[in-house]
Symmetry: C2
Subunit: 317 residues, 2 copies
Amino acid sequence: MVRLSQVGEFGLIERISRRENKRPETIVGIGDDCAVLKLPTSNIKLQNKSERTKYIYQLITTDTLVENVDFKKKGLSFFHLGRKALAANTSDISAMGGIPTHALVTLGLPKNTDVSAIDELYRGIDSLAKKHKIDIIGGDTTDSAVMFITLVLLGEVEKVNLLLRSTARVGDLICVTGEFGGAAASNFKLPTSKLKTNVKIARKIAKSQTATAMIDSSDGLVRSVMDICRASKVGARLYEDAIPVADGATLDQALYGGEEYELVFTVKKGKMDRLLDGKIKYSVVGEVISPKLGVILIDKRGRIKPIKSGGYEHFKK
Amino acid sequence: MVRLSQVGEFGLIERISRRENKRPETIVGIGDDCAVLKLPTSNIKLQNKSERTKYIYQLITTDTLVENVDFKKKGLSFFHLGRKALAANTSDISAMGGIPTHALVTLGLPKNTDVSAIDELYRGIDSLAKKHKIDIIGGDTTDSAVMFITLVLLGEVEKVNLLLRSTARVGDLICVTGEFGGAAASNFKLPTSKLKTNVKIARKIAKSQTATAMIDSSDGLVRSVMDICRASKVGARLYEDAIPVADGATLDQALYGGEEYELVFTVKKGKMDRLLDGKIKYSVVGEVISPKLGVILIDKRGRIKPIKSGGYEHFKK
């Protein structure tokens, strides 16, 4: 018998994603920040003749937070939890270049849960939903000895603005928004006011038509770069002294910490000017290299430093 | 402090659903078997001039099964569990008159789960997904002390075939497919071979253009009728001797048992012939009456019998 703790989250996902999608609407299935569906189907004709606006690309993502794994109930702010659940999903929509539109909320709750705590949770969700004009259209509520919250978020993106993980090319520069390590430095207890979303800057990046691939940094900067590399079949060289480290954080926290909703994206070298024209604030942290070289880190003295296995992995002990 | 066990699932849902949807695509939010979105949005024009095929109506539903609430792990067939999760969601799509298209699977799993059990679970899901040409396009996997499976199912329906809970009218006849009480009579241990879906007959009913409202019977026959009545602001009279009771089941099991994926629908009296023409097998079990009269049951001797509070409710002790 093989236990889940032996194969880990990545092993499980690989096992699950070995499947063929057959419907014509399915553009991206398991393996990116969101699934992508091409809508509408055959019986619709176009107002705008341009291929660029031919379809709506619908984005779908889901993220689950479980008690004692992703949060502890002791001293928990339910407002914070609700806001965090929507922020995490919104970040996945952003990372595809899209805007969020509709959400479903599933709650697993112990019978003795205080009803006012659930109201607080919804207030946290609504605080972000209102900002981004997201409708909460459904979900499920069920008994559960362990509390959990599963959020499903739909969004949309024009075909021309869709950004995948799998389309980085050798020679591209690797860029990031914001700073890293702040969440880890605060022992993952960032105040609710720091739970921001990145929809606006993600849209700017997507619309600038300069990026070749994008992902969010929720599992850590290095892990995100590795995910782009795996999906794009490329390698990456990161420069230690180019990493924007948050105040009070160590370089290790910036590289591996996670739980931050920044964007990691790749840009064709010749197109960097346009990013600046778009008034997008970003840092160049490395470049895309041959897959043979893998993902490597260059320290301040120009030496190769080993990469630690990146970020958090579920099921591993 | 008010505990969840005091307000119950229905109280919680009412609390949650007191919200206004604002996006133009949102046709139905919380409160029916599925949410309904009108797609595409503004930048698309039509090939077919008829209003009837003007839009795609996208259906979205989600259902969660939790260990020790909806299933026990001891002696569990993971194949059965996976198939049941997809069957339950498919039934919600059917109940709107639609066809299922894409699914997301979220699993909360203890670390010591046997990986081959997860493979079995997916084989169960796939056994139905293949039949209905459903693509599995995403989901999430996470550690959880208590096992749970959350399935999200997307579907679509032509505007003209969409059937809601809220559109039954006084004078309509109440009809059902199949028989009731079989699941309860087997102590909710129906063999996997009996886990069938009702997509075909639901589509026949929808396309016959005779039904005014529809719902699935997963929470029990009486509860389903009550749900239609609440949403449509009508009452209902059910005739005890018209209820199709499954072999070996009692009348009470047929009325209140649940965990069956049959359809409960209302039909305008003058249109019953067309149902027969469509070769749809159904039983007439009652009629829609004034809301002032509530939901009542008439026994074999013509007397009014009290309705028990219908079906299973989460959180209630």
